[in-house]
Amino acid sequence: MRLKDKYWLLTLAIFAAFVLTGIAGYFVTFYLASNNLKRQAILNVEKYVEVVAVSTGSVSKKEELKAVLEKSPLISHVTFSPPKKLSSYQITKTLIFPDGSLNVTINLDKDRIEKSASSIAQKVSLSILAVLLFIQLFIAIFLKKLYLNPLNRIRKDVDLIQSGELKKIPEKGEDEFGRIRKSINQMIDSIKERDERAELISNFIQLLTVGKGFNGEFVELMRKALKITETDGVLIGILSDEELFNVKVITPDNHFSLKKKRGELVGIEPYILELNREIETSKESLFSEAERELGIRYVFGMPLNVLSQNLGYVIFFRKKKQPLSEEVKDFVKNIAKSIGISVKIKNLITELEDKLKREKRFTQSVIKSFIRGIEVRDSYTRGHSERVAYYSKRIAQELGLPKSKISKVYMAALLHDIGKIGIPDSILLKPAKLTEEEYEIIKIHPLLSYEILKSLELSEISFEGIKYHHERWNGSGYPEGLKGRDIPLEARIIAVADTFDAMTSDRIYRKKMDRKEALKEIRSLAGKLFDPEVVEAAVPILLNELPPDGEREKSLNEEIVLEIEKRRLDYFLRDHLTGAFNRSALEYALSLSKEKGGEVRGFSIDIVKLREINIEKGWKEGDRILQTFVKLLKERVTPLAIVRYSGDNFAFFVPADMEKEEIKRKIEEIEKEMGVKLELRELQNLEDVERLKSELTQLELIHPHSSQL
């Protein structure tokens, strides 16, 4: 029950009006009747007096007159003198007779008159009230039956509609309530029809925007639209590229698709495209033969224009010439708009998806190019980033990290060494152990990686993983010396994968370790350098899984890379004049020799008085002597490696089984052939590179003449 409803107000007002009318009716009637009866009584007395006077007929009979008058129940007494003051219950009258006139004052019985009047008035009032109540009751029943009840029923029906139950209400009678009910039902029909239309359009949009296109669901929806619009079919042409239209023909019992070139369109279709506006026509001359065969007699079509771009056309047709109503036309236009917008959205989504894919590919290729960049610089780390990325990803998966985090770890691992771009080649490519100062420079590469990448705003990368991948569990790492769980998990994962791959990869100054051996060492370092949990998760992966080759081979030409590596190695490790290893490559040369020949013996050899030759005959001659010397040494002695240790000092290594005498003989042959003096000494400290370096330095210092002369 809604107290705000006018129905209740009306009911209450009617009830109140009836009660008030009854009460007012009673009192007003009582008042009027009472007064009237009093007046009537007085008038009656007057008439009585007149009658008595006429019948008496003489002044002389005034006592008789008095007696007769006083017999009246309404008269208390009669006098023949005028009253001092006339009250409302006194009548004074001058009577005329043939023998003169007579003044009479009649005093009325006030109590009797009032009592009598009041009694009758009460009865009259009650009668009036009863009649009034009867009439009111009749009116109330009348009002209730004719107005309030139908109003209440409509009110309840409207309440039901308001509560969401949109169903028709019963139609009764032809009166205004019947008409209201009819109107409400018409409104419900209209709302339902509109809902149906809106739902249909919404379904169109939904269907087309999810990219399902003109499938079976679309055909069913379009058939509903045909039913609502009372049309016999629809032609939908969507421009797939500049010249090709995908044409869909849908009728209530058939549908088929065609592909038509723009030039092949005939009839109403090219007409609409040409005019580029709505067309409504039943001119048969505008229809093609095929359209006439379809039975088309009337069309309402429009181009699909969205944002000033034509995407095709939609044509609804009828097999009779009866035109569509304006309302149906609006509906059809909305369908066409929804198709147009949906096609546009679909096109935009497709374009966007393509663009995103291209951008993703571009980003990946940029990232890979970064990796290739560092790998090309440091050939010994080729494939390292991808392997570390693979191991890191697998460890992250084993640890049960969410997909997004795994992806970030993978990307961070791929790019973790990108900062090495900023490390000088002399350090990065140094074919020997680094000095403390050099190592300090190497330590900045995680920060460099972080600084290079952070500006790229790549949300798919764990920057912390990159920045802290050289931090160690016990705080001995760099750049910040973080400890334990203060080190981000991504960095702890990459640290294990990075170390394992470094250990199991060749380096210029050492051979790779066996996987099991490397893993053993890593396990021994768990809780010291590495997170034990990460190590535990990594063990089965590092032991059993090999990273796929990936796309490295596809993107890099192996021969070119090898050539580049060779040339760069030569540039850094070899003496450009003679082609022998330079001083920096001593360790590498010794290692290489040992690798080739197992046990080796080493010799130093000086070209005596080379400086004098340079002064006397020029640098060119000196250079030629040096080149010829190395060439002859290679040919005659065939050493495992030759190192130009200083200007005229060389060291070379031969297999241990080569006799010293034989070597001496061959050197003498070279002396003779070149016409220079050579000093040969066997080296003693081949087991320790540092000591070997000292020995060579000492030899250089002992025979300064040899280098200076």
Partner: protein, 165 residues
């Protein structure tokens, strides 16, 4: 039954209150004095003007005087002597005009003061009188009155239009 009576009484009260018709009650001691009024009535002079004229005739001036105690009468047609008696004893009556002469006696029209307050009513009534007087000049009218109403005009009676006395 009682209830029905109360209902009818209430209804009559309502009717009395709602109904207010103009009425002139005339009394005379000489029946022929009513002739002009009857003649005017014959031509529906009063009914056309919504005027209800009731006439009574008594057979002597004494009776007339006695009947004047009925307040219902507001017009009297009588001889000079009676008229003077009335006006001298009752100041509620006014001698308005001379209306006839017969056998050397003059007859007058008296009006109750209360009627004089209703000027239009008095004028209409007097116009009717004057119209009746004119009508009586037509012997056909006189004959009709005699045959229909039984009013016989005495010989040598002369009616006057009411123009004062």
């Amino acid at each position: 039954m009682k209830k029905l009576l109360y209902f009818l009484l209430s209804l009559s009260i309502f009717t009395v209150f709602s109904c207010n018709q103009s009425k002139v009650d005339v009394i005379t001691s000489e029946k022929f004095l009513l002739s002009p009024i009857r003649a005017a009535e014959f031509f529906s002079f009063y009914s056309k003007r919504g005027l209800n004229v009731c006439v009574d005739a008594v057979d002597s001036p004494k009776k007339l005087i006695r009947f004047l105690n009925f307040s219902t009468y507001n017009v009297v047609l009588t001889d000079k002597k009676t008229a003077d008696f009335i006006t001298s004893n009752l100041n509620s009556w006014v001698k308005l005009c001379k209306i006839a002469r017969w056998r050397g006696d003059f007859y007058y029209l008296l009006v109750r003061n209360s009627l004089l307050k209703e000027q239009k009513l008095v004028i209409a009534f007097l116009k009717g009188w004057n119209f009746g007087v004119d009508c009586l000049k037509d012997p056909a009218v006189v004959r009709v009155l005699e045959e229909r109403d039984g009013i016989f005009l005495p010989k040598n009676v002369k009616f006057f239009s009411c123009k004062g006395w």
